[in-house]
Structures are given as structure tokens and as C-alpha cells.
Subunit: 187 residues, 6 copies
Amino acid sequence: MRSNESLLELLLELQVLDRIPRSGFVLRGVAEPESVTEHCWHVLFMVWALGERVPGVDVTRAVEIALVHDLAELRVGDLPRTAARYLPAGAKNVAETAAVGEVLAPLPERARRLYAEYQEGVTLESRLVKACDKLQLMLKVAVYEGWGSGALAEFWETPDTSPAPGIAAVDELFAELRARRKPAAGR
Amino acid sequence: MRSNESLLELLLELQVLDRIPRSGFVLRGVAEPESVTEHCWHVLFMVWALGERVPGVDVTRAVEIALVHDLAELRVGDLPRTAARYLPAGAKNVAETAAVGEVLAPLPERARRLYAEYQEGVTLESRLVKACDKLQLMLKVAVYEGWGSGALAEFWETPDTSPAPGIAAVDELFAELRARRKPAAGR
Amino acid sequence: MRSNESLLELLLELQVLDRIPRSGFVLRGVAEPESVTEHCWHVLFMVWALGERVPGVDVTRAVEIALVHDLAELRVGDLPRTAARYLPAGAKNVAETAAVGEVLAPLPERARRLYAEYQEGVTLESRLVKACDKLQLMLKVAVYEGWGSGALAEFWETPDTSPAPGIAAVDELFAELRARRKPAAGR
Amino acid sequence: MRSNESLLELLLELQVLDRIPRSGFVLRGVAEPESVTEHCWHVLFMVWALGERVPGVDVTRAVEIALVHDLAELRVGDLPRTAARYLPAGAKNVAETAAVGEVLAPLPERARRLYAEYQEGVTLESRLVKACDKLQLMLKVAVYEGWGSGALAEFWETPDTSPAPGIAAVDELFAELRARRKPAAGR
Amino acid sequence: MRSNESLLELLLELQVLDRIPRSGFVLRGVAEPESVTEHCWHVLFMVWALGERVPGVDVTRAVEIALVHDLAELRVGDLPRTAARYLPAGAKNVAETAAVGEVLAPLPERARRLYAEYQEGVTLESRLVKACDKLQLMLKVAVYEGWGSGALAEFWETPDTSPAPGIAAVDELFAELRARRKPAAGR
Amino acid sequence: MRSNESLLELLLELQVLDRIPRSGFVLRGVAEPESVTEHCWHVLFMVWALGERVPGVDVTRAVEIALVHDLAELRVGDLPRTAARYLPAGAKNVAETAAVGEVLAPLPERARRLYAEYQEGVTLESRLVKACDKLQLMLKVAVYEGWGSGALAEFWETPDTSPAPGIAAVDELFAELRARRKPAAGR
């Protein structure tokens, strides 16, 4: 499997993203967990819906970044959180960039630049996508907990699943979500 | 279940879209068929990737239309193709518009207008989404046929699964997809 | 898909009912929820087992009504409870009657009359099937709650999931079921 | 697990029948195969629909036999066809009768007699159920073959999956089903 | 299906063991329960890992016994615990021995002797496998309970799911597992 | 997640291996593909069954190597074949060794040495496991092809899925498997 050579090849390969389950949920016993594709759609929707609440953000570009932000998983897999600890520093990012480069080969250079922007995580747009990436995780955790599915409590205590503070609109939603969980957390 | 009253409520409800399988595949025996969320993501990606090949289209708005185009299924279900025949003329559209109105209630009016634009199907942007909606169906059909999953041959013969002609970029991709199927079709 | 033209066609179409999951459970996160076929079998068994406790009922006809009572879902889908709110008054019933008419076309007229009797819900037999339809829902809710699967508490509080009072044998079973849940409800 | 002590206990136990997949399909690689409950419903429908074509049969009783014919699987499991070869002659029937006796304990004696009638297989009604039990198997085989699911060809060649000749209405349907398969069989 | 005639036939048949779910979990509502193959691997690993803690045991032979201990399920199915009550005394063992004999036919006589040793349960090696067979069950019960999946509490109270006392290394692990459950058991 | 601190912790973590599907099958559309645990069991059985046909091999140690050969996947995931291309040379092996070290921490040093022996692939025992690892893949491919599940033809043409020549007993089985496929390959 090398670089895609046509848009059709690319579109066909993307269909497979549906079959890659999110490893964080798989490893914690959620039955029928969301796929990477489903995660991607929700992140994208959140970026779009929150955009108007984030002063100065270019929503259109943020949406585009969300669209490509997880495509490496097609070829690298959805590495469990633990995997990064065992790989050389930076190796995951290098691998993902190379994979996305070959997946998106039939698209103009701009598509790969959006992915690079996400990896760098400097611009407001990429930071918004990263924050929504984590917020979506916690939204799904809340939903699965409501369904009684999986052992997910640890997610609420791990700093790296909290959206990095700084984007107020996301911080507020996360606080609201956490507050909502309180009563149930009394179990 | 009434109108969503906050963005958080809306985002939580959207997570459920992942559990609604696409009825066309369910009824034709595909194992583990795509969800409505997955379909939505692929349509959106196609609209974005094809946008630059469609003269005069406003890609940003087309992407936004794609984002909302199937949200009615959260509350109305993914009606099988046959259902429309048994409902009064226009009832499906009316129901879907009402459902989307309540789902998207926490968002600005503009979000509902995008859905109305899709239902009307007059603008180039909405026509592009509709064409991609059908093209994505056939892409998935091709993928599932390659996997030996489901009885899907009829899709290739039904006019209402062909993207309506008129948007050259979509027509070309569909022709390429159909041509690719040829050898296998000899079975 | 039009009217079935032979008994064999009908029997083959019915096999697909197994793949239609019950939407109420899907939307509330039950993993591997029952199919419409499974629901149908349980309702039928209950009607038969309860029949001797219902003075004056014609059990044979009630069983036959149970046998056809959900066949519309083959062509209309298992509409979520919310769907009815968005459709014109009566449209769901009209659609279901038309669908059942075409599904059961190869059988004598009597089969369609049984479905009409169910839709009208006037005779004791049809009321028994409707009551068992709801009681079976709550039995399954109780089973899934015992298995820790899905967010189902709301079912116990919604009047339209309680069997309509009036058929003592069903009322008693429902009261027994509800009583049994008590201890667990203390959670 | 002993004899059920109330109708409610019985009805709750029956819900579990949905989770027992038909072993013949499991062992031959069908994805998401039908459950025992689904099989039971289809056999029952066939008995009812074919009844009027079988001279002299008491359809009501035949339907009742179909309703109980597979309930032993709740406690004995859906033994694969091969299991019988390894058990002492008659042991499977004895075990099934004992299991059904305890499952149906809260119902009047008549319910167990219906099961005994099925096991003996002498009356026209029990022979009709047995013939439909096999015909339903082959209907499902045909459906799964159409879906490309599982390695099922051997079923068409094994005498013990053919409905025993003698009930013309079933023989005819089976012949029609077999004829329909012909073109595909050329593969 | 008779005796396997070549090693290749045997290896192909074994692949099917993956599709046989463990009936104890199926009947108690665990979603996506472990397969017999998975159970077998875990028992084997435990026997190996515990071996050095069991004075006088021949670990290599114990591992071999673990490897064959559940192969009868390929042809007899994974009989639910209740099934044994309905079968004549000893019939299950006789059937399983016959089935394993035919499955393993292409291997040297020694393979069948290992299975006989397991059935007899006299040697230290076979007793270690039997103890691990039960301990693995309870490990999985603990995992599924942590995931909120299934109604499994009864397993902790049934004597026949406790590893028979006598092998200290297993007793200790079981005590440790049971102690770990305590806090959660307060629910 | 750090090093396991007790045997119980290790055994509990291992249960999760059942939920990790083999990525090669996932990406090629096999429904309900085998888990890593299932793969591990089959490789182990093959090593054991073939051992006596491989002159000079220490079967006991080869079985032990098979037992640990895939445990890294618990923490690194089942990387798709393509992933290795994007990672720095050797990074995958380093990561896997570190992961296995932490997983197996409660066991004596010898357990980690068995894994190192596998990674090095020099001894006859480790080469036998590697050859069986590939042969098992192709056995499963053959089974899935027989079931009509997935797009797997490419596996037969890729050199790196052929067991490396040199171990005659494996070469012969692979040749036999390939020959058996011939007639079907005419499709």
C-alpha cells in the first residue's frame, strides 16, 4: 500500500476508517464502541458549532483541520494511549505525517498542510480542534457511562483527557459536562 | 423528547447517531453496516474534496449543508427507501424538517436554514451534497461487494441511486467507479 | 419492492425482519438489542400463555393478531417513538396498513383483516395483543437492566409504556414485574 | 436453575432465548446468525400460513406445537448436529423433555403434552411443524447464500435437512426454493 | 463430520472454535463474550505462569492438557451448566471423549491420552488445569463486572465455580481476586 | 499504565487481549474477525502439533515462545502491516520489547528472555513460531474465504505472508493449504 493515485482510490480507502474502533474504548470493555470515522464526525460538528463562540477563529479552516486530523489511523492504526510511551520521542508524529501524506496524495498540497498545522498545534484553529478532540472523548465517555458500558471512570481523573484550558467556549462545555456527571458519580 | 435546550444536550444527543445503522444495508444483509454518522462523514469529505472541481460552488457552505443533511434520522430513524411510498406525499420532508428544527434548536437560525436549503435542493451547494450522498452510497456498495458482504447488485440498476447528472466532477467519479466494477460484475 | 407475488417470496422477505433491531433499545445504548422478530415471538408467547386467564378471549385469534402485528416494520422500519410526533396524524397507521397489505398479499384476505383489527384496537383480542406488546417491552427492559445494558430507567415512568389497564391478567403481571424491580431501583 | 415457579419467571427466562445463536450457522461462518427465537417465530409463521393448504390439519394446535418446539435450547443449548452422534441413543430427547418440563412448569399440563407430541412426531400437526422446521432452515440458508455469508452449500446435499416428503404443501415450497437456487448454484 | 484425516483438516476445524461463545456468559447477558478459544488460551497461560508455584507439577504436561481440555466443544457445543442435569450420568464425558477422539485423530495417541487424563482428573497436572479452568472463569467474571456487562453475581456464590481447594497457588490467587471485589460488591 | 505489580494484575490485563481484533482482517472487511488471543492459541497449538515433525526442535520451549509472542499488542495495539513503514527502523521491535517487559514484569526473567528470543528469530524454536505465525494467518484466510467474508486474495500473493522456507513440516502444510485453494481460486 503506497500513495493513493486517484481521488477514487482515496475515497475507497477512507471507507475502511469505519471499521477501526477507538482503542481507548475497546481496551476498557465498551461493547460496540465508536469508530474513528464517528469520532471524526463529532469533532468536526463541535468545531463548527462552537466556532462562533471562539473570538478570532477561522471556522472554515478549523473544520478542514478537523476533517483530516485522524486520517493517519487508516495506516498506523488507532494506537492505544500507552503505545506512545514505548516509541521513540516524536516517532508517532513522524509516522502519522508520512501516512497522511500518502493517504491524501491525490489532493492538493494544502490538505497535507492542514494536517501539519494540526500536528504543530500552534494556531488557534488547530488548538480548537485539539480541544474538541478531547471534549468529544469525554462526551462519549459520559454517554457510555449512562449506558452502563465499560470501565471509564479513570478518564475523568487523567489530566491528558481534559481539554487544555485556554479556549473558553470549550472549557465551559467541559465544566458543564463534568457538573452533570456529579450526581451519578455518587455511586 | 422535545427541542434541545443547550448545546451540550445537542452534542450528547448526536452521539446516538452512531448506533443507527443505514437501513439499506441492514435490509440487504450486510454484516456490521456503516452507521448514519459514518455516512455523514464520508459525504462531507467528498463534498470538500470535490469542491475545487465544481466551478462556482461555495465549498464552505456545501460542507455545512453536508454536516446537517441527515440529522433528522436521530428522531425519525433511517427510513428504508420503501417507507416513502406508504407515507403521504411530502410527509417525510415535513417530519424531517420538524425533527431537525428541534435537534438543532440551540444553534442559530442559520443552521436550520442550511437544512431547508438541502431539502429544497435548488442551489448548487445543495445539489452537490445530494449528488455526493448518492455517490457515497455507491462507493460503500462497491466496498461491501469487494468484501463479499450483502446482496447489493440491485443498487447498480436503480436510477435513484445514481447521482443526478449535471455535476461533472461527480458524474466522472461515478463513471470511474462503475467502470472499476466491470470485471467483478462478470460473476 | 411491490406486493409479494407468492408465498415463497413472502417467507423470504420475512427472514429480513431478524436484522431490524428494536429502535427504542438502539437509541438507549443497549448492546445487541432484540430484533423485531424476537419481540414478535415473545408477544405471541405471552398472548398464548395469558389467554386462559382472560375471560372471554378467543386465544386462537389473538395469537394470529400477534403474528401479524409488527410486519409493517419490514418496509416502514421500526420508527422511533419520536417519529410519530413529526408525521401527520394517522399517517403512521395508514403507511403501516399499506405496507402490511403488500407484504401479506399472497395470503387470504383474512390475514390483512387481522392486522386491521389490531390497528383499530377495539376487540378484546386486539387489546390483549396491545397490552402484551407493552408488557413484553417492560419485561425486556427489566432483563436488560439486570444485565447492566442501556439507559432504560425512563421507560418505567412513561405512561405510554404501561399496559393500558383493563385486562386484569396483564395488569397483575406488570405489577409483579414492577414490584420485583423495587430493590434494584434503590441504586 | 430448577423449575420455574411463576409465569413471570418463565417469561423472563424466555427472553434469553434471543441470545442463543443457531449453531449450524455459527459453525459455518455466518456473521450475526439468527437466534433460536427468530427461528421459532419463522417456523410458527410458516405453519400458520401453510396450514390452510394441508388437508385435515388442526392449524391452531400445530401453531401451539411450533410455539414450544425449541424451548429446550434454553437449558440444553442449541446442540450442533454432530452432538447427537456422541450421546447415547435417545439421551437428547430425554434431556430436552426434562428441560422443557421445568421451563414450562408454570403452565398447565397441556403445554408439556404439546412438546411430547412434537418429540413423538406421529400426528399430522407435529409432522407439519417438523417439516416447517427444516424448510425454515433452508429458507434461511438461501437468504444467507444470497448475502454471501457463510459456507452453506452442504445443506442442500444432506438428506436430513430436506423436509421429509409427505406433506405436499411443504414439498412444493421446498421444490420451488431449490429451483430458485439453480442459477446461482452454477458458481 | 467424522474423524479428521489429516493435520490440515484438524487445523482448519480448530479455527471454528473462535466462533463458539462461552454459554455461561451468553445466558447472563454479557455482550460480545469470550470465545472458547479465548478461554483456552487464558487457562493455558495461567497453568504455565502458576506452574513454578506448584511443587511437584510437570508444567509441560499440564500445559499440554490445557491445550486439549476444551476441544470437545467443537462438536458437542459449549453445553450450558444446566445441560448436565438433564443428560444421563456420565453421558457428557463419554460424548466429549468420543468427540475429542475424532477431532484429534491425526495426532499421535498421546494427545487423546492427555484428554483422558483431564477427564479423570486424578493427576496433579489435570487437577491444576481444572483449578485454572475455574479460576479463569472468575477472572473473566471480575473483568466483565468491572465493565458493567452481564448479570454475573451468582458466580461468586456457587461452590462449583470456586477452584477446588488443594492447590495453594490457585487458592491464593482466588482469595486475592475475591478480596479485590469486596469494595465494588458493596453496591 | 506501568509495569504489572502482581500476577493477578497481569492475568486481569491479559483478558483484554480478547477485545483486540486482528487488524489485517479488520482492514479487509472480515465481519467478526479473530482476536489476538485467538490467533495466539492457534499458533501455539500448531507449534505443539507440528513439533514432533521438526527434527531437533525443543517443543516445550517453542510452545512457551508462542505463548508470549504477541503480548505486546496489549499496549502497542495490533499495528497494521503498513505501520512499520512509517516508523523508524527497529522502533516497532523496541516498543514491543518494552511493552512485553512491563506486561510480564511479575514473572521471572526467563519469560522476557523467551520474548527476546522470538524477536531475534535466530533459534530453531523462534523460527518455528514465526513460521507458524504466518501459516496460521493463511489458515484463517482460507477459512474466511470459504465463508465468503472479506477481500483477502492479496494475502496469497504477498511474499511476507508465506512462511519462510526452511522448516519442512510447515512448508508442506502450506503447500497443501495452497493446493486445496486451487479449485476455488478459479472464480
